[in-house]
Point group: C2
Chain length 341, copies 2
């Protein structure tokens, strides 16, 4: 239980690198003893940030990587060519068994490609899904898949449901998580070709608590813990969530600044309002795991600050201690055997 | 220009029928002289509502229809069997040229099926899309398609773009409306198979102002006037929009009721806040047109009150006076000719 979790942290990824990333690492090792963080990136820049800070030297180590993958670079090329980039070096550490997990706020595309190509899939996993947590009225739900591989097959979605269910149960601590598939109506006969083919397969799964279809309207109400969809739809949901929230909040703030009366009112409601809006902010819950890999890869928001980085690192400890990958492997293999029956 | 627009109003459809529907009709004829509304439904129930109200008798007429299609009924069966339902009778009035448009807050499925089967498509239109208006930071955008027919082809999406563009320009008065396709990244090479095949076709279209891909995050910011997608994605966007808005607003309201201080603050900001939230409420903008039919069919929210019904009826007048169907027909035919070249 108390084995050390080793996290390769991409010190150069994201809008606030390296400063906030390194602050996040220092915060995380302050919270957890059984943790080692490798700060992967340009040594000079990292050293500069570490100056004048105090931290347990045995828990933080710099791994020099001379290159940086930019957000705009085509991911496949970047991973292939920038062998000494912080993302590639981090991924290779997991591949070689020198680290258990990678945390990166860098290019989503490069993280997804690097995870698949360098870290590699667990045997039997057809497609590793990116699974962010969405804030809801009642807590959080896992949205699986939001990755870069679109046009999924029904068998992919079934694996997403299983992996998502394991994650929510053992990392997030939700017992017997409710699994639903995104659809445009509640009835089984509704949906596009993919959903119609996947629905009966999910119904047959004995190792998940499948509750049927979920309409997009119900997602923010927290009607399901694991929300299964293919990546195009997942991306639309994730980004629209952010967009509608951002626009609505900005409109509400504007409306409170129109008159002296509303300004006074705004002062009075501000602290409570801030707390509410924070609870609806995805970055509070750490990054999105890329599941089904031989190791763990966590993608945090490009705009991540120290808190999200720290939370994402802590997430890796639970992931390792709970043996999530062993559980995924067992669950997927079992399915494989069943199919061979 | 001042020809009379004749609207067959489904008096029995929606959660608030017939009371709010009939109030909406009375409001509309009060606003517009060149308008005739047929209240289609059970005569006795309609008469009861009309008692003790005053309205111009020459502008409102009851058309008896003995049956009502319930929301839960399978649409195809309902349309086929309930020949004397308010929806079927309304649609047939348009088919026979006795009305120009149908407005219904009833079963979405039945309205979509009825529109296609009874009213019929404009020659050359492959699939009639349902196109609701979404509130944005800067105004409204047309989301096309949110209908019931999923798994669209690229040629469908191209027609959606053209019809949506005509609607936004001539009904909503937006000059040279910006058309975008929903995608998971800005680059042309991104997307699923459907989007990748559709993108170059839209780029070639000379009669629309195609601005490229739009990520879901940008939709609420009002980055495009016409947002093209296939119906599964459209349904997800429309319903998530409603869901995130509703949950966020309810959380904000709750947060303002936590202490005496916040309650006083809430009183001060309430009127401004209410106005803001109203501007983000889709029902303010009338119903969603089902485009590409030989006539106009407008589907309003099931929860429609008098104001949305009234706005939807007024929408039909602009639609007719602007010759939208003639413009759609011309635009689609032109494409057909081009293809034959």
């Amino acid at each position: 239980m108390s084995e050390i979790t080793r996290v390769a942290l991409d010190a150069m990824g994201g809008d606030n690198a390296p400063s906030e990333i390194i602050k996040g690492a220092i915060d995380a090792v302050g919270r957890e003893k059984n943790l080692k963080v490798f700060l992967v990136g340009q040594e000079e820049a990292i050293q500069k940030e570490l100056q004048n800070t105090t931290y347990p030297k045995d828990q933080i180590e710099i791994i020099h990587a001379s290159e940086v993958i930019e957000t705009a670079e085509p991911p496949v090329n970047a991973i292939r060519r920038k062998k000494d980039s912080s993302i590639v070096v981090s991924m290779n550490m997991v591949k070689k068994g020198e680290a258990d997990a990678v945390v990166s706020a860098g290019s989503t595309g490069a993280v997804l490609v690097g995870g698949q190509v360098l870290v590699g899939r667990i045997k039997g996993v057809e497609r590793p899904p990116l699974a962010p947590l969405l804030p809801t009225k009642t807590g959080v739900s896992l949205l699986i898949d939001c990755g870069a591989n679109v046009d999924a097959r029904p068998s992919h979605l079934v694996q997403f449901a299983k992996m998502g269910s394991i994650y929510m149960e053992h990392v997030m601590g939700i017992r017997n998580p409710k699994v639903a598939i995104v659809n445009i109506g509640a009835e089984e006969e509704k949906g596009n070709a993919l959903v119609k083919s996947t629905f009966p397969l999910l119904k047959e799964c004995k190792d998940i608590n499948f509750i049927g279809s979920i309409e997009a309207r119900e997602i923010p109400h927290g009607m399901a813990d694991v929300i299964v969809c293919e990546a195009f739809v997942g991306n639309v949901i994730l980004k629209l969530y952010e967009g509608v929230g951002a626009v609505l909040v900005s409109k509400i703030k504007d409306s409170m600044m129109t008159t002296l009366k509303t300004k006074i009112g705004a002062l009075l409601v501000k602290p409570a309002l801030k707390k509410t809006l924070k609870s609806f902010d995805a970055s509070e819950y750490g990054g999105a795991p890329l599941l089904g890999l031989r190791g763990l890869v966590v993608k945090t928001h490009g705009s991540s600050k120290a808190k999200e980085i720290s939370n994402s690192i802590i997430q890796c400890i639970t992931f390792k201690n709970q043996g999530i990958n062993e559980k995924i492997s067992e669950c997927i293999q079992k399915k494989e055997e069943n199919l061979e029956d």
